[in-house]
């Protein structure tokens, strides 16, 4: 199962604006895999949105999940 991740703002500077990961079943696993590949992400502040909803606890993923990593907003 491949999970597609989109990244924004300063996070895209680190890892590019999209990343695909195999063999992740939930967001905790996804974060571990990402931080291992991109250590600078571990030092960045961000929230995770799954299907356009910000999550606050570990969330299971399937191949239709849209995962987004969102650094602090700075619109306006």
């Amino acid at each position: 199962m491949s999970i597609h991740i989109i990244l924004f703002g300063r996070l895209a500077d680190i890892a590019g604006s999209s990343v695909s990961l195999d063999n992740v079943a939930d967001t905790d696993g996804l974060v571990r895999a990402l931080h291992s590949t991109y250590p600078a992400l571990a030092e960045s502040k961000y929230v995770i949105a799954v299907n356009k909803q910000v999550i606050t606890s570990n969330t299971s993923l399937d191949e239709n999940s849209v995962v987004a990593l969102l650094p602090p907003y700075s619109g306006g």
Binding site: F8, P71, Y73, G76
Partner: protein
Amino acid sequence: MKERKPKNFFVQGPIAASFIAESIQDHSSRTGIGAHSIFLGQVRADRIDDKEVESIEYTAYEEMALDKMHAIREDMFAKYDLACMHVYHSLGNVRTGEISLFVFTSAAHRRAAIDACQEIVERVKSELPVWGKELFGDQSFQWKANQ
């Protein structure tokens, strides 16, 4: 099943003063309106060390932002006695002195228009997945941080 289709409120580049004037003019036939409240965000030439911001490049997670704006709109009409509400936000490059955010509320009485406008501005800044990259003249940049 009909899918809800939130209105796109993103504008490519700066928001022109003439567009704001047209928006105001469009409300002259709404004769139940007594008060308009408008907020405009303008790109500031902040100095950081010896460099000055020349423009901000805005990007957004557009699909999520449209959903969020839809929720803000529903909350505002539920909470305030509004006649209308419009929000426009720039994407792409906006130079210093240009407008990147336009919030416009209208109501029979001033209290609803003013309070709603203020609340929308706060929610736009804190809830919309939008990012500003402050570009300096020498090709360097920094990511904007909202207060």
